[in-house]
């Protein structure tokens, strides 16, 4: 049983496009940093030492701040806090938007009217002023207010998209058929509708995480959070307040900035892989693309084996000779391929 789970995972991994593999690797790196960071950080991120504004060295890989705090330790703690916040917001927003989107579309009638109205009301709330006003009052209570406010303002987008998608799926024949065979409503929603929306939901989750990271870092940067905790945003806040840029202390803001940028990049790359996981048809297309050595679009003419072999240059054929999956083995037509 266990081995088959592993084999399945390995199969999924092998079929992922390169972009998604890079995304998974990069994101995994940051998740790992978030998990073990506080254990492996060399110093207490808040501890002040006489060694101020020191450039990166063997003792302090990322240098120190104006008050002699170790920046590597700050970044390691910061990644954890920022990812924690972003993933929490992502989960909350996704759950709420799926619940509201699917319910309003599937139940229809008065439910749809009421839920759509609520969605639309939340949609027109001007997010930025509200965030600033609310967090201006609540900023000293750690991350919770930020999570709540970001979640509150984040869900209507996903809910609308998912409601629209559910509406089109609900009208299709296979839903009518499963209703006819007597499936329960919750079963239809969970097993007939949701699987069709997996790529949409996953993409909306990834986008929300991205939005939460961006928003929380921006809010921290302008000081609208507890600036005495270490998140990627507060590191940037302190670098800005203590004019790291003027002093030429690039090591103060580059690591945190880079971390934000790389997490964002990894999420965008991840997004591109999700599409293929959700669609068996795209996966099958990739099999042929592997034989060809380049992407084959659905609108392309049917590929011809002899042409694919001819198009493959010397390097391509060399690499292909190592390929594990030999296509059409044992047929008189396929030969080596």
């Amino acid at each position: 049983m266990k081995s088959s789970v592993f084999a399945g995972a390995a199969n999924i991994w092998r079929n992922l496009p390169l972009k998604a593999k890079i995304g998974v690797g990069l994101f995994g790196f940051f998740v790992l940093a978030a998990i073990i960071g506080p254990q492996v950080q060399p110093y207490d991120p808040g501890a002040q030492t006489p060694l101020t504004m020191a450039a990166p060295s063997v003792q302090h890989w990322f240098g120190t701040t104006q008050t002699g705090q170790d920046i590597l330790s700050q970044v390691l703690t910061g990644i954890r806090l920022t990812l924690e916040l972003a993933l929490l917001v992502g989960v909350i927003v996704t759950v709420v938007s799926v619940l509201i989107g699917v319910t309003s579309a599937f139940l229809g009638g008065i439910w749809d009217d009421v839920l759509s109205l609520i969605t639309n009301v939340f949609l027109v709330i001007p997010a930025l002023p509200l965030l600033i006003v609310l967090l201006g009052y609540l900023s000293q209570q750690g991350q919770t207010p930020t999570i709540v406010v970001l979640s509150l303002l984040g869900w209507p987008w996903g809910a609308r998209v998912i409601r629209a998608q559910t509406l089109t799926i609900r009208g299709r024949d296979f839903i009518a058929a499963s209703r006819e065979t007597g499936e329960k409503t919750w079963r239809i929603i969970l097993f007939e509708i949701i699987p069709n929306e997996v790529s949409l939901i996953a993409a909306s989750f990834v986008n929300t995480v991205l939005y939460a990271i961006g928003a929380s870092v921006a809010l921290a940067f302008v000081g609208l959070t507890n600036v005495n905790s270490w998140s990627l945003g507060t590191i940037l806040f302190w670098a800005q307040t203590d004019s790291a840029l003027l002093a030429g202390a690039w090591w103060w803001f580059v690591p945190a900035g880079l971390a934000v940028a790389l997490i964002g990049t990894s999420l965008v790359l991840l997004n591109s892989g999700i599409d293929e996981l959700g669609s068996p048809r795209l996966r099958a297309t990739r099999g042929t693309a592997k034989v060809a050595g380049h992407k084959i679009w659905p609108t392309d003419p049917t590929p011809v084996l002899a042409q694919l072999q001819a198009q493959r240059g010397p390097l391509g054929s060399f690499l292909h000779s190592f390929s594990r999956r030999s296509l059409l083995e044992g047929t008189s037509a396929g030969g080596e391929l």
């Binding site: 099999g287 037509a333 396929g334």
Partner: protein
């Protein structure tokens, strides 16, 4: 007479995680000018894959693994060498599609865009392939509807305002828009009742005689082909079992599979007889067993059948240059005659 479309040794496979599906295996089929060739077989026997593969219309995971498709339309070759569709680039294919080879798709309901008027869809097809000024294209669209017997005022109708038969006619009109030399019809009448079916078929024949195109007609309905087609190719499990003229096939089916098909529907004329059908199910196309794929369902199967190489050869007892070919060298007309006599005796 040189064939206008000559498919030779065509193989098409669909890749899948559980093994490659060999949907078409080494099929050779030719289509002469002005001829109606019927391609028939059960669902999943590879008839559509053969036709679409030859036109390079299949999407991945389909892959053409061998063969050539030579087209010798006069507008393309100017009397010279035929061109190979399988070695064409996308641009070259675009040049021959519709203008040279057109397709009437299986379900007209899905092939017509529900939000566009019939006229706009006809104009799309015309303007994509012919450089015509707008008003001429309009006239052309109207003439096309005349051709298939739909009143001109239906030009402004939406697909849902037409009946199934009319929609199918619109599809045929659209296929004929650019005056093609070869028209592939993929079960164009399957969803229609027999009266409308009859109507459309006679119209197709009449149009063919008038405009001089050739037809490759795909269907699972052998009885329909016996009436409509000049020649018939019978397909099973991705391979051709028998080809021959309709008369030959009807009078003296050589292959046991064809005999089985003919025994599956009642004749309109002649004595009543028992309908037998063909027991069993078609084989899994993922693993190909050597020899004839029909062995498990064949009542004449012998040990020698698994050594048959499935190439078409003239039916025993017919002259070598005759066009009646079968893939079964075991079952000769004598064998079947004996068998049916035994049946009568018992």
């Amino acid at each position: 007479m040189a064939p206008i479309l000559e498919i030779s040794d065509l193989s098409v496979a669909y890749r899948s995680d559980s093994g490659d599906v060999h949907a078409v295996e080494h099929v050779s089929l030719s289509l002469n000018a002005g001829e109606v060739v019927g391609l028939c077989g059960e669902s999943g026997s590879g008839k559509s894959t053969l036709a679409y593969g030859a036109m390079r219309l299949l999407r991945p995971p389909a892959l053409i693994t061998s063969g050539s498709v030579r087209y010798s339309g006069r507008r393309i070759t100017h009397g010279g060498e035929p061109v190979d569709i399988l070695s064409m680039s996308q641009r070259e294919l675009h040049r021959i599609r519709w203008r040279e080879t057109a397709i009437v798709f299986q379900s007209a309901m899905n092939a017509l865009n529900p939000v566009l008027r019939v006229q706009d869809q006809l104009l799309d097809a015309i303007q994509a392939h012919l450089k015509l000024p707008r008003h001429e294209a309009r006239d052309k669209a109207a003439t096309l509807l005349d051709l298939v017997g739909i009143p001109r005022d239906r030009l402004r109708a939406y697909p849902h305002e037409l009946s199934g038969g009319m929609r199918q006619r619109v599809m045929i009109a659209m296929a004929l828009a650019a005056d093609p030399e070869v028209v592939i019809m993929d079960e164009p009448t399957t969803a229609l009742d027999v009266v409308v079916q009859r109507d459309i078929l006679s119209q197709i024949v009449e149009l063919k005689d008038r405009l001089g195109f050739s037809v490759l007609f795909i269907t699972h309905d052998l009885s329909l082909l016996l009436e409509l087609a000049d020649r018939i190719a019978v397909m099973y499990a991705g391979r051709l079992m028998e080809t021959g003229s309709s008369q030959e096939l009807m009078r003296e089916p050589a292959h046991p599979y064809t005999r089985g098909l003919l025994n599956s529907f009642p004749a309109l004329h002649g004595a009543k007889r028992e309908l037998t059908g063909i027991p069993g199910v078609p084989p899994d196309l993922r693993d190909i067993t050597p020899g004839c794929p029909f062995i498990p369902r064949c009542r004449y199967a012998t040990g020698a059948c698994s050594a048959v190489d499935m190439s078409l050869a003239p039916v025993a007892g017919t002259p070598a240059q005759a066009a009646h070919l079968t893939a079964c060298p075991i079952v000769t007309p004598e064998v079947t005659k004996e068998a049916s006599q035994e049946e009568v005796a018992s």
